[in-house]
C-alpha cells in the first residue's frame, strides 16, 4: 500500500476515462473516479486492501462509468465502441493493448493541455488543473487559494460547462501542444508560487502544490520534442527556476523563536537542499540549448546566482544586476523593479539602492506592499537614517502581511539602534 496514491490514481482514472469517453464526458469520468474511491473507502476497512489496489480502483471506475452510461441510455444511446473499451479489463500487470492504452502519463499530459483550453480564464485553468490533473479536492483547492469551497466549486462547474459548450476534443492536434504550452507553464508556475509564497494557509497543501508543479513540469520535460517542440528550453528554464527556489525552502523560516521569515542574507545556506540545487542547475543547462530566452530563463539565472554563492557576501551582484536589467526589459513589473533595486544596493551601495527604490515607490501597486517599506527601512538604516528606517518599518507593518513576515518586521523595528 506504500506506493498507492489516491490523488494520483484519481487523476489517472479521470484522464483515461476522458480519453475513452470523449471530453464531453469529463464530468462522468470524474464521477466514476469518485465512485471508485468511495467504494474503496467503504469496502477496504472491512475486507482489507486488495492485492493490487490501483488496478482494483481502475476496474471499479470503468464498471461505474459503464453503469452510468447504460443508465443514461434513454437520453443518449450507448456507443458500443466506448462500451467495448470500458469493458476491457486492463490491469497494470497486463501488457497494454497498443491501440487503446497509451501509458497513463500520456493521458495525464493530454489532460494538462485540455484544461488549458484557450476559452478558459487563467483562474479556471488553475482550478481545473488542481482538481483534474492533480486530484485535489474542492476543500484543498480552497485552502490553497484562501478561498471558500463554494467559490471554488462554482468556478469548477462554470469551467467544465465552458469546456463542454466549446465541444473540446480530448485528442489534441499536434498544433495544440505548442500553442498551449505557455499557458500550461503559466499554470504550473502559478501553482508553484502559490505553494512557495509565505502566505498563511495550510502548509501541507502548500508543499503539495510545489511538489505537483515540479512533478508535472518533469512530465512535460520528459515528453520532450513530441509535446514541446522548439519550446523545450522554456520548460527546462521553468523547472530550473522552481527547483532553485524550492531548494531554499528549508532555510527560509527560522525555527528559533517561532516562525520568523529569514532573508537571503540571514539564511543558513547549509540547510539549502543541495540535490534540488543540482537538479535545478541541470535543467538550467538544458534550458540554454537553442536561442530561446524567456522570463523563466532570467529568473532561474538569478536564483542560480544565489544558489551557487556559498555565502551571501560571495554573491556575484554584478551578474545579478545584469540579469535583472534583462528581466525588467521583458517583464517591467514593479516587483521586478523592487528586486532589481535591492540587487543594485548590494552592488553599488545603499544610497544607489535607495535612489532606485525611491524612483519606483510612487507605484500604486507597491505602496501597500510591505517589502517596499521594509526595503526602504533596511537601506535607510545602512545610510545611517534611523528615523526614516523606523518610519518605514512601521509603514511596512501597516501593510497586509503574514505572521512570519510580521514577526520579521517587528524584529527589525525592535533591533533599531
Amino acid at each position: 500500500m506504500t506506493d498507492l496514491n489516491f490523488q494520483r490514481v484519481s487523476s489517472q482514472i479521470v484522464a483515461t476515462l476522458t480519453r475513452i469517453l470523449g471530453a464531453q464526458h469529463l464530468a462522468l469520468a470524474e464521477e466514476a473516479a469518485q465512485d471508485a474511491l468511495v467504494k474503496a473507502l467503504q469496502l477496504w476497512p472491512h475486507e482489507g486492501v486488495p492485492d493490487n489496489p490501483t488496478a482494483w480502483l481502475i476496474q471499479v471506475a470503468r464498471n461505474r462509468a459503464l453503469d452510468r452510461l447504460r443508465r443514461d441510455q434513454r437520453s443518449e444511446p450507448l456507443d458500443e465502441v466506448v462500451a467495448e473499451r470500458l469493458t476491457h479489463a486492463v490491469t497494470p500487470e497486463l501488457p497494454p493493448l497498443r491501440h487503446e492504452t497509451p501509458p497513463p502519463e500520456d493521458d495525464e499530459l493530454a489532460m494538462m493541455f485540455l484544461v488549458c483550453h484557450p476559452t478558459l480564464s487563467r483562474e479556471a485553468r488553475v482550478a481545473l488543473t488542481l482538481k483534474i490533473v492533480c486530484g485535489f479536492g474542492v476543500g484543498e483547492i480552497a485552502r490553497a487559494f484562501m478561498s471558500t469551497e463554494d467559490a471554488i466549486a462554482q468556478r469548477l462547474v462554470r469551467a467544465k460547462r465552458q469546456l463542454r459548450d466549446a465541444d473540446v476534443a480530448f485528442e489534441l492536434t499536434g498544433a495544440d501542444y505548442p500553442a498551449r504550452l505557455d499557458s500550461v507553464l503559466d499554470v504550473l508556475y502559478l501553482l508553484f508560487n502559490e505553494g512557495y509564497a509565505a502566505h498563511t494557509g495550510d502548509d501541507l497543501v502548500r508543499a503539495e502544490l510545489c511538489r505537483e508543479a515540479l512533478r508535472l513540469g518533469e512530465l512535460l520535460a520528459a515528453a520532450g520534442p513530441k509535446i514541446c517542440a522548439e519550446r523545450a528550453p522554456a520548460v527546462h528554464a521553468l523547472l530550473a527556476l522552481m527547483y532553485l527556489q524550492a531548494a531554499r525552502l528549508p532555510a527560509r523560516v527560522g525555527d528559533d523563536e517561532g516562525q520568523v521569515l529569514l532573508r537571503l542574507a540571514e539564511q543558513d545556506r547549509t540547510r539549502w537542499d543541495q540535490p534540488a540545487i543540482a537538479r535545478g542547475l541541470q535543467h538550467l543547462d538544458a534550458a540554454s540549448a537553442g536561442d530561446t530566452l524567456t522570463v523563466y530563463h532570467l529568473e532561474a539565472g538569478i536564483a542560480a546566482g544565489h544558489a551557487v554563492a556559498a555565502r551571501y557576501d560571495d554573491t556575484d551582484w554584478a551578474n545579478i544586476v545584469d540579469l535583472y536589467d534583462a528581466l525588467i526589459a521583458i517583464k517591467p513589473t514593479p516587483i521586478v523593479a523592487l528586486n532589481r533595486a535591492i540587487a543594485v544596493s548590494r552592488l553599488r551601495g545603499p544610497r544607489a539602492g535607495l535612489a532606485a527604490v525611491d524612483a519606483i515607490a510612487g507605484d500604486p501597486l507597491l505602496a501597500r506592499y510591505y517589502l517596499l517599506h521594509a526595503t526602504i527601512g533596511d537601506l535607510a538604516l545602512e545610510c545611517g537614517d534611523r528615523e526614516r528606517a523606523a518610519d518605514s518599518f512601521t509603514a511596512a507593518l501597516a501593510c497586509e502581511c503574514t505572521q512570519p513576515e510580521r514577526r520579521f518586521l517587528e524584529r527589525r523595528l525592535a533591533a533599531l539602534p
Binding site: 490523488q7 474503496a40 473507502l41 476497512p45 472491512h46 475486507e47 485535489f136
Partner: protein, 118 residues
C-alpha cells in the same frame, strides 16, 4: 472472552464529500485500527452492507409485506458491521471508542449471546 458486534451507522452521503487524499488517509486509519485488533487477537470479522438496497419484511395479518429499504436518505442506517472479541462491555466500548467510524457516524455495541455451557 465474548463476541461483540459493532453495528456501524452512517448516512449514505457521509463518505462522498472527501478529497482523494482525505479518503486515503481515512482508509489508512481504519486499517491501523483493524491491524491493532488483529495483532491482539480481538478482531473476529466484518462486513460492509450494500447501500441503496435491502428489503424489509413484515407480517400483515395473513400475508407477508415486503418493502424496499432502508435507505440512507439523510438518516442513519446500518452500513456495515465489525465483530470483535472483548472481555467485557467496558472493553468492547473502549475498542469501539477508538474506531475511526465514530467521526462519520454512530456505533451500536451489542454482545453476542450464547447458551451458557454447564
Amino acid at each position: 472472552m465474548s463476541k461483540y458486534t459493532l453495528m456501524l451507522r452512517e448516512d449514505g452521503q457521509t463518505f462522498t464529500k472527501f478529497s482523494p487524499a482525505e479518503m486515503q488517509a481515512i482508509i489508512a486509519r481504519y486499517g491501523a485500527w483493524r491491524d491493532e485488533l488483529q495483532r491482539n487477537g480481538k478482531f473476529a470479522g466484518g462486513h460492509k452492507l450494500r447501500d441503496g438496497q435491502g428489503r424489509i419484511m413484515r407480517r400483515n395479518g395473513a400475508k407477508i409485506v415486503v418493502t424496499d429499504g432502508p435507505f440512507a436518505e439523510g438518516k442513519e442506517v446500518i452500513g456495515g458491521l465489525f465483530v470483535i472479541e472483548a472481555g467485557s462491555y467496558d472493553e468492547a466500548v473502549s475498542i469501539a471508542n477508538s474506531c475511526p467510524h465514530l467521526e462519520f457516524g454512530s456505533i451500536e455495541v451489542r454482545e453476542v449471546e450464547v447458551t451458557p455451557r454447564p
